[in-house]
């Protein structure tokens, strides 16, 4: 399908060097269709898929942790309720990016520590903790692969967004009017029945605006994957946008970084727009029967 590409690339390359030769619109179009389907470009599309995949894996982890945090906060055991209370307010005080950097490293070091102390270097005289420095022996040291990094990123994102979610769920559980639950008790429903038949189903309605907002924040936090050393769309945009010289490249071009990043911006804009559309629909469905006092009155 792309057999013509080498020829077109060569032709355009020649034309760029020689003012006398001109490139027709058709050739330009062909050149672009070839350019956008090079191996490197296919990786940026794959990277976009990886971003969506990470999103898909993060959501269940975050929801699970969010529920555990919010429910744990109301626990009878003070230790659990205090840990969960801290978890719920954690991201309010500390920037999420610190967790993104901290959590993967911590997990990595945890594994290295186990490897260092129990598997590889039991006889080594070198301690794992050497003052402020941490030094695993060479066999125990992990060289992170792309796959490892992605898994660790999902865990880190899950923990951070679980904290956000816990905050939302905690608030939504409290927002369900007490009378709704009390009525359940008044009819003889057990605590568990009241929770699963009344409290939880009504909670969703109050949590949905928060979740919608959180999903948008999550989408907009995915570029930070780049900072974790993951070869995501930003990595490739940076790579592909660089000026490509005639000497080293089949498809030479100027510095197109700006265009690449604008394209990324449009990608994210489309993603957030689509999400908002879906959430508006969802909210309409969940709203069925639930009238929550509208505080915003339309201005005439």
């Amino acid at each position: 399908m792309f057999e013509h590409c080498p020829a077109i690339a060569e032709q355009v390359k020649l034309a760029l060097g020689d003012e006398a030769l001109s490139i027709s619109v058709q050739e330009r179009a062909q050149w672009f269709s070839c350019y956008f389907t090079t191996k490197k470009h296919l990786s940026i599309f794959r990277a976009a898929g990886v971003v969506l995949l990470i999103l898909a894996f993060t959501v269940p982890v975050a929801l699970l942790l969010g529920f555990l945090g919010a429910l744990g906060k109301a626990s009878r055991w003070p230790v659990i309720s205090q840990i969960c209370s801290l978890y719920v307010i954690m991201v309010r005080g500390i920037p999420d990016i610190i967790f993104f950097l901290f959590v993967p490293l911590t997990i990595e070091i945890g594994i290295e520590y186990v490897m260092h102390s129990f598997v590889y270097c039991r006889d080594s005289a070198e301690p794992f903790f050497n003052g402020i420095n941490i030094q695993p022996c060479s066999e125990a040291a992990i060289i992170p692969t792309q796959f490892n990094r992605i898994v660790l990123a999902v865990v880190a994102y899950g923990i951070v967004f679980g904290s956000f979610a816990a905050n939302i769920i905690d608030g939504a559980l409290k927002a369900v009017p007490f009378g709704q639950r009390e009525t359940g008790s008044a009819f003889g429903l057990s605590q568990r029945q009241v929770f699963f038949d009344i409290h939880l189903p009504q909670m969703w309605r109050y949590a949905l605006p928060g979740f919608s907002n959180l999903w948008l924040i999550l989408i907009k936090a995915t570029p930070l994957l780049f900072l974790l050393g993951i070869q995501d769309i930003i990595y490739y945009a940076d790579l592909l946008g660089k000026m490509a010289t005639r000497r080293y490249s089949t498809y030479p071009h100027g510095d197109w970084k700006l265009w690449y990043f604008i394209a990324l911006g449009i990608f994210y804009l489309a993603l957030t727009m689509l999400s908002q559309l879906v959430f508006t629909r969802l909210e309409r469905r969940f709203n069925k029967g639930m009238v929550i006092n509208e505080t915003t009155s339309g201005r005439v």
């Binding site: 009378g179 009390e182 009525t183 008044a186 009819f187 003889g188 029967g289």
Partner: protein, 281 residues
């Protein structure tokens, strides 16, 4: 409203719990409260109240706001736990653990059983907002009485028909007027086939023009010889439906008697004051 066929199933399960508690309960009152004391913080709301309602009795509790009448009603099905005093429902005494403010019923199972047997109608209706009217009436039947879907549905439609809003079965509470919502709440209570019904100011949250439809339904229930405990601010209604009227004042029963005794020849000054004030309402 003809009630011969609908009231039959409503009373059918009654003998069951009584049989379980033995023959002694045959003559026992359905609801018996003795020496109920309750306080919120430093505020003593109930200061030793005794109250009895026999089978088929309609007892109306009146009094100014803050007199403790609603709290007393909520003590009956243990939405509030009194610090002192005994509660006996259909001959079965509720058991408590601990003392004072920490006092709690010892058995959650017993409490839930009692509550299922005493259906409550709230001032704010408290229909579950996420469920349709039909689902509202079905939920407690299914979860507490363990009726299957078909049974619960049938009973729900019967009771909704009984209160005159069967056509609203699939609507959500927010789509109904206050009067319709309260009638749905009454249907939900009736569908549990309770031994007694508890009404907590059932018309206070309604516009005057919607009160009538709800009052008519409650009155028709009273005429079926149901056991009912009723907190109300509507003196005319209390006189109309009640067999016994109880006047509470500052956490104590100041006076009780037949409607005629209470309304026509009040003995205490407080009751006289209260009645003359509420006449001008």
């Amino acid at each position: 409203m003809p009630s011969a066929d609908t009231s039959a199933p409503a009373h059918a399960p009654d003998p069951a719990p009584e049989a379980a508690t033995g023959p002694a309960s045959d003559a026992a009152p359905i609801i018996a409260l003795a020496g109920i004391e309750k306080s919120f913080g430093s505020l003593d709301v109930l200061k030793g109240v005794d109250l009895e309602a026999g089978r088929g009795d309609v007892v109306a509790m009146i009094g100014s706001s803050g007199s403790g009448k609603s709290t007393l009603l909520r003590c009956v099905n243990l939405l509030e736990v009194p610090e002192r005093g005994e509660i006996t429902i259909a001959g079965e005494a509720i058991t408590f653990s601990n003392k004072g403010p920490a006092r709690v019923p010892s058995s959650a199972g017993q409490v839930n059983r009692i509550r299922a047997d005493l259906s409550m109608v709230f001032q704010q209706f408290n229909l579950w907002a996420h469920l349709s009217i039909l689902e509202n009436v079905m939920l407690p039947q299914r979860r507490v009485l363990k009726r299957d879907r078909a049974q619960a549905r049938q009973r729900a439609i019967e009771t909704l028909d009984r209160v005159g809003i069967a056509d609203k079965a699939d609507a959500y509470p927010s789509q109904l007027s206050g009067g319709q919502q309260q009638r749905a709440a009454i249907a939900r209570a009736l569908a549990m086939d309770p031994t007694a019904l508890l009404f907590d100011e059932p018309t206070s949250a309604l516009d005057p023009e919607l009160e009538g439809e709800v009052l008519r339904v409650i009155k028709s229930l009273a005429e079926e010889d149901r056991t009912m405990l009723l907190v109300t601010h509507d003196m005319r209604f209390a006189r109309d439906v009640a067999d016994k009227v109880v006047f509470l004042h500052q956490g104590r029963i100041e006076e009780e008697g037949t409607p005629a005794e209470i309304f026509d020849s009040p003995k205490s000054d407080r009751l006289q004051q209260f009645l003359s004030a509420s006449d001008h309402r």
